[in-house]
């Protein structure tokens, strides 16, 4: 166990290093330079471009830039090129905005996908199962931006509530209940949209896991000795079908920072995804690279946690 942990930590650090190198190269070898973003701006004289290049080490060779950049990132000194704010502080603020979306979406996914999946495995082949299957394909295939507009049309026409942004602008001096409901209405649509694909995928996965377990001998034994079906399904089968989902707690981790770019842009939600999109538009390399780095770290930590969890819950796995 200990040797597995040690080995996998070393492996993950090496992987992380390559991710750092590759993302840095992708950004810096692409045509164009950040100092030439706005060549038509009359305020941008050649001297200013020179000063800019010097201030951000852009006149150094690539490997020196690489060292400078990651040294600054690890000591928390990296600043955004757009507004000179510290990158980590900006990401932290935006992260707090994305967090409610993530939490609500995760709760939706886990509370909806499991009942749907388990139920359609139990009544497999029936009308409910086929309907659930078709709807999960439908949700999986629908483009998020299109679904967003359908829902906006429906909600706005039916309830006459504003849905764009995090809260209604200028809504002051009203009761706490009003503002609270306002926040909830703004939260509902984007989090439902972020959950759609997750619900579709997870419910299919639950169904297939459940089907696999239901086909095993010990379930047949349980049924043969006359246990009531509820006990067979929910006590014998479901408990074992749940095993692989324990690992999903680890795999959820990268979702913390990977707020959906498209959904957050549609709803003008000032989260991580939207910040990433704005950073790409303005070629704000420190932010792009930092988000990339943090999400790679989260992916690695997530897979590590899920490996460990799997070993803990399933004694058959020995790595």
């Amino acid at each position: 166990m200990l040797s597995f942990i040690g080995r996998s930590i070393i492996q993950k650090i090496i992987t992380l290093f390559f991710v750092m190198v590759i993302s840095f190269l992708i950004i810096h070898l692409a045509p164009g330079e950040p100092s030439q973003v706005d060549p038509l701006n009359p305020k941008f004289t050649p001297e200013m471009v020179e000063r800019f290049r010097k201030a951000f080490h852009l006149d150094e060779p690539l490997h020196v830039q690489f060292v400078y950049f990651y040294r600054d990132l690890f000591t928390g000194k990296t600043i955004s090129w757009k507004d000179n704010e510290p990158v980590l502080k900006k990401i932290g603020e935006r992260f707090l905005n994305s967090l409610p979306l993530f939490i609500v979406a995760t709760i939706l996914i886990w509370t909806l996908a499991f009942p749907i999946g388990v139920r359609s495995a139990i009544v497999r082949g029936g009308a409910y199962d086929r309907l659930a299957t078709f709807f999960s394909y439908l949700l999986y295939s629908i483009p998020g931006f299109f679904f967003a507009y359908i829902l906006i049309l429906l909600i706005v026409n039916a309830f006459h509530v504003p849905v764009i942004g995090m809260k209604t602008f200028g809504l002051t001096d009203v009761s706490l209940l009003r503002t609270g409901m306002d926040r909830v209405w703004h939260l509902v649509l984007p989090s439902v949209l972020e959950a759609t694909v997750g619900i579709a995928v997870l419910s299919r996965y639950v169904r297939s896991q459940m089907l696999e377990v239901e086909g095993q001998d010990y379930v047949r034994t349980a049924r043969a000795k006359g246990l009531p079906p509820e006990q067979v399904h929910y006590k014998h089968a479901l408990r074992n079908a749940l095993l692989p989902f324990v690992t999903m707690f680890g795999l959820m981790l990268p979702g913390l920072i990977g707020g959906s770019v498209i959904i957050e842009s549609i709803f003008s939600w000032p989260g991580i995804g939207r910040m990433a999109y704005e950073a790409i538009l303005s070629r704000d390399y420190p932010i792009i690279l930092s988000i990339n780095f943090i999400s790679a770290v989260l992916v690695l930590i997530g897979t590590f946690i899920s490996d460990i969890l799997y070993m803990v819950v399933d004694p058959r796995i020995r790595l």
Partner: protein, 392 residues
């Protein structure tokens, strides 16, 4: 059992040997199973229909005098609803839509949405197929090497060589022609040198330097799987968005970038299949016959490993179409005069309350095509995998 069935049983066996299992070609069996799976069958039907629409769209909307011109601007006819008659008094003869009505209405510049949808269908189709083609090629190559040669170790000199060649190539592209050329030259000399050594001097050389260079490091399998791990660390849509935004806008860049970021699944499938196929007798037989390694991989093993690749490719096309639509929606897609389903929707979203058809027509088109590919892919998974097949 009827008489004809009996005949089929005795076919080409000679009656004296007795009945055998009915011979059924793989394609016929596939077709029969597909017909039973209604969702997958309708998926295939829509897929074929979409294919024809996209091809005719390419033919009918390109050229100097296209049948349906997606680029004609009729400002006096903007935002007309679907199936509305054009106002002939206001139009020049060449501005009159070919069908006589605006089948799908017009957009905010008075362009015919039907013609634009036709043009966009081709973009979706090619992006889907080319991106997945690239991904499958890389996946089969990497997975094939990893599954077949996986146990072979990577030697120190291989790593040095790869490093030198890639550095040389990078310098050459970066503009340092002399240094890059020298490095490439060193690399190719070393390749020739090692080929020569392999061919003409079988004896093990005992020099210290060479022994150091020939030290084994990790196996090829580990190397390729670590590369897959590295690629899986990137947030995919964000990476695609970054690269597409940095590169000049063009359809080819999008295809290549989507292809280069989605080969990991195929690699894993092919590797897993080859690892189990490698131990089977027909591979040993082929080796005993002296068939070359690459021929064994591509002629004997890959065809047997195709089932999961086909399934993941079909579903991959669906997700590539979705990614392209998403990129177009964000404004990073194919550059503007050319219509794609994503940018028709993105242009139309400003008029969602006045002209909902500009959102709903492309949206439903994307939804139906993606759904068709997903359903067909899932059906394919059930059909090609005998274990998942329902007993009948």
């Amino acid at each position: 059992m009827t008489k004809t069935d009996n005949k089929a049983l005795f076919r080409d066996t000679g009656a004296e040997e007795g009945p055998r299992a009915p011979r059924e070609s793989r394609l016929r069996e596939f077709w029969r199973l597909l017909r039973r799976n209604r969702l997958a069958f309708s998926g295939l039907a829509i897929f074929v229909f979409f294919f024809f629409v996209a091809f005719s769209g390419l033919v009918l909307t390109s050229g100097t005098r296209p049948v349906f011109d997606p680029a004609i601007v009729r400002l006096q006819e903007k935002l007309r609803p679907p199936l509305s008659e054009p106002n002939l008094a206001n139009l020049l003869p060449k501005e009159i839509p070919t069908l006589g009505v605006y089948l799908f209405g017009t957009d905010d510049l008075g362009r015919d949405v039907f013609a634009r949808m036709l043009q966009g269908a081709w973009v979706s189709l090619t992006v889907g197929f080319v991106a997945v083609g690239i991904a499958v090629l890389i996946g089969i190559g990497m997975g094939g090497i990893s599954g077949y040669f996986g146990r072979n170790p990577v030697r120190v000199d291989h790593i040095l060589l790869a490093f030198i060649v890639s550095l040389g190539g990078g310098l050459l592209i970066g503009g340092a022609f002399f240094a890059g050329g020298v490095l490439l030259l060193i690399g190719s000399t070393y390749i020739l040198f090692s080929l020569w050594r392999k061919k003409w001097s079988g004896k093990q050389s005992a020099q210290k330097l060479l022994r150091l260079l020939h030290k084994d490091t990790i196996s090829i399998d580990t190397l390729i799987m670590r590369i897959v791990d590295i690629m899986l660390c990137f947030p995919v849509f964000f990476l695609i968005l970054t690269v597409v935004a940095l590169l000049p806008a063009s359809m080819y860049n999008i295809m290549i970038v989507i292809g280069l970021t989605s080969w990991m699944g195929t690699t894993r499938f092919v590797r897993a299949e080859l690892l189990s196929l490698r131990e089977q007798d027909f591979v040993t037989a082929a080796k005993a016959l002296g068939v070359s390694d690459w021929r064994i991989i591509f002629r004997h093993m890959i065809p047997n490993a195709m089932a999961p690749v086909l399934v993941s490719a079909t579903i991959g096309i669906a997700s590539a179409i979705l990614i392209e639509a998403g990129l177009s929606f964000l404004g990073f897609g194919v550059p503007p005069p050319h219509a794609t389903w994503g940018n028709i929707l993105s242009d139309g979203k400003r008029f969602i309350f006045d002209a909902p058809w500009l959102t709903f027509i492309p949206g439903f088109a994307i939804l139906i095509v993606v759904l068709a590919f997903n359903l067909f892919g899932e059906g394919l998974r059930d059909i090609l995998n005998p274990k998942l097949r329902e007993r009948y």
